[in-house]
Symmetry: C2
Subunit: 166 residues, 2 copies
């Protein structure tokens, strides 16, 4: 089973594709969609949608896992995050992917066993689980982490369950 995890953001959107074969997790691909600074906001949205669409077409995951966004500094930040998350999910929906949503706490609990784990602990656990030489940078690690969280759930390993609505 192959999952794309997404860490959405209007400036940087992380993505990570993880495959499970029997009991082995495998890193397929990961990276970031970075919108050039200074381009209009709606061009950033199109960039996220287009680039994620290419990644999905290239690696053919079966489902998309996305973090819930319950945390935003203020209404304006929430609006921007909402736009980015909406178009990222649409890239998955238009490729007929199932969408699963997990809270940041559920992702941390699934990976580290502790819902309030530090960012560095998540990065290190992603490195260990995927046998990477170095911990991935933060956005990529978060995207890989939510993909792993969903794979755990699919295998009945995790104790969290995905949602399908805000």
């Amino acid at each position: 089973m192959r999952i794309i995890g997404i860490d959405p953001g209007s400036k940087v959107t992380g993505y990570g594709i993880v495959e499970q074969m029997k009991h082995q997790l495998r890193h397929v691909a990961s990276g970031r969609v970075v919108s050039p600074s200074g381009i209009p906001f709606h061009d950033r949205l199109k960039n996220i949608y287009t680039e994620l669409g290419k990644v999905i077409a290239c690696h053919a995951p079966e489902a998309m896992a996305v973090e819930d966004l319950f945390i935003a500094r203020n209404v304006q930040s929430a609006l921007k995050l909402g736009h980015a998350r909406g178009v990222a999910m649409l890239a998955g929906l238009n490729a007929e992917l199932v969408i699963a949503e997990y809270s940041p706490m559920e992702v941390k609990k699934a990976l580290v066993g502790y819902g309030r784990a530090q960012k560095e602990q998540v990065q290190e656990m992603v490195r260990i689980l995927l046998s990477l030489a170095e911990p991935p940078e933060s956005n990529t690690a978060d995207a890989l982490a939510v993909a792993i969280c969903h794979l755990h759930w699919c295998q009945g390993v995790g104790k969290v369950s995905p949602r399908s609505s805000l």
Copy 2:
């Protein structure tokens, strides 16, 4: 010139297409994308994107005008609105439309001449400007209003200018 105006919302998204021929405004089409209650949030997003895509393909507007969303009750509302607005804009962007954004105050000023006009005043002015028999319902009126606002700006009638980013 033909413009589609959008009043985005995760439950109800209003749209209105207005054409300007010389000094005459003409109502081309308008309506609402209503997501059935109880369907998952991401299916509502896909519904907005798909239905607006059909409307755009059918009526071929040259540009999309959308209200800024600076007003939201709280972070959670802002997140939901952001998702809806993002996918609505993407429907325009993927059809190669220019996107113009106006604040609610700018729209009211362009239509009624007063930035704090009541909802009913906007509905009535839309009715008069488009020679409709009845004032349109609220979401549709707001969508038609932002389309008219953009046409005013294109004709140099309005005093407001569109933005292209949040």
